[in-house]
Symmetry: C2
Subunit: 188 residues, 2 copies
C-alpha cells in the first residue's frame, strides 16, 4: 500500500492565536463581520470549530478583542521635539486607511469590551505630544480628542453619512480638513 500524500491531522501546520486571528480578519474583510462564525473560522483553518476554544478560552469575545488589537496602529515616537504635528497627521491618515481597509472591524472599536486594546495607542499619542512640548494635561485631552475624531469620523465615512449640501462628500478632503482643525487647535 502506498502512503497517501499526508493531508491528515499530523502534518497540518499547528493552530496558533496568530493563525486564528489572521484567518478571522480574512473572513471579516471578505465577507463582513456578520459572517464571522466559529464554525466558518474552523472551516477556514481546516479544523473543527471547537478546536479554537483550546487557544482562545474566552471564545468569540477574545477573538474579537484580538482583531481590534491586531488592526490598531500607534504613532512613531520620535525622541526630541521634532514636528509632532506632522507625526500625528501621518498617524491619523495611516490609522484611517487601515480602518477603511478593515472596515468590518470598526464596529468592534465601539463594542468590544477590552479597554486595553487601545491603551498602547493612547499612551503613544500622549508621548508624542509630550515630546513636542505640550503640557501633560493638554496632551491627555488632545490624545483622546484626536483618537475619538479619527474613529468617529471614519465611522461616519463608512456609514456613508451625507451632509446638508446635496453634493457627494469628498471623504479624503473632509477627513484632512477636520484633522487640520483638531491639530491646529492643540498648542503648547
Amino acid at each position: 500500500m502506498v502512503r497517501q500524500p499526508a493531508i491528515n491531522a499530523q502534518n497540518r501546520a499547528p493552530l496558533s492565536i496568530e493563525r486564528i486571528i489572521e484567518a478571522a480578519l480574512q473572513i471579516v474583510d471578505g465577507q463582513g463581520l456578520g459572517r464571522l462564525t466559529m464554525r466558518r473560522l474552523g472551516d477556514a483553518l481546516e479544523v473543527e470549530a471547537m478546536a479554537i476554544y483550546h487557544h482562545l478560552p474566552r471564545g468569540k469575545e477574545q477573538l474579537l478583542d484580538g482583531l481590534v488589537a491586531h488592526v490598531a496602529i500607534s504613532p512613531a515616537v520620535t525622541h526630541g521635539a521634532a514636528d509632532w504635528r506632522e507625526a500625528l497627521r501621518r498617524w491619523a491618515r495611516d490609522y484611517r486607511a487601515r480602518l477603511l481597509g478593515h472596515a468590518g472591524v470598526l464596529p468592534l472599536l465601539v463594542t468590544s469590551r477590552n479597554p486595553a486594546a487601545l491603551t498602547t495607542t493612547t499612551a503613544s499619542l500622549q508621548e508624542v505630544l509630550r515630546q513636542g512640548g505640550i503640557p501633560e494635561a493638554t496632551a491627555a485631552v488632545a490624545a483622546h480628542t484626536l483618537l475619538g475624531y479619527v474613529i468617529g469620523h471614519t465611522a461616519l465615512e463608512v456609514r456613508g453619512t451625507p451632509d446638508g449640501t446635496g453634493e457627494t462628500v469628498d471623504w479624503d478632503a473632509r477627513f484632512d480638513g477636520g484633522l487640520d482643525l483638531v491639530l491646529g487647535a492643540v498648542s503648547p
Copy 2:
C-alpha cells in the same frame, strides 16, 4: 358563565412601529444589545416574534435602524447669528448624555447601514454654522468633525479606554476639553 377580564388578543393595544421601537430600546438599555432578539422582543410586546415582521418587513435590520434614528438628537436652529458656539456645545453635551443613557445603541451608529438616520443631524449642524456666519465649505467640514468627535469620543468613554497617565480619567472634563478644542478651531 362570567366573562374573563379580557386579556386576550382582541383587547390588547395593537402593535405599532412606535411601540416596537420603544420596547426594543428598553431591552437594549436594560439587558444590552446582545440580548435584543426578535423572540424576546415579541415576549415583551406579548406577541409572537413573527408578528413583528408585519410592521417591519426588513426585519431586524430595520429595527436597528429605527433605534439609531430614535436616539439621534439635532441641534436647535436659532435664526439670526446668535451664539452658535454655545448652541453647538449644548447639543454636543446633550447628544453625549443621550448616547451614554442608551450606550447599547452606540455600536449601531457605526454598524447600521442606514446613512439617512444621521442626515437630519448633519444638516442641522451645518445650518447652525451657516447661520453663525461660517462659510459653506468650512461648515461642511466642521459639522462632520464635530459629529465624528462626539460619537468617537463617547465610544472611547463607553469602552473605558484609559490614557497614558496611570490615573482615572475624568470623562466629563475630558469631553468638554476636546469639545472646546474643536469648537475653538472653527472660525468665520
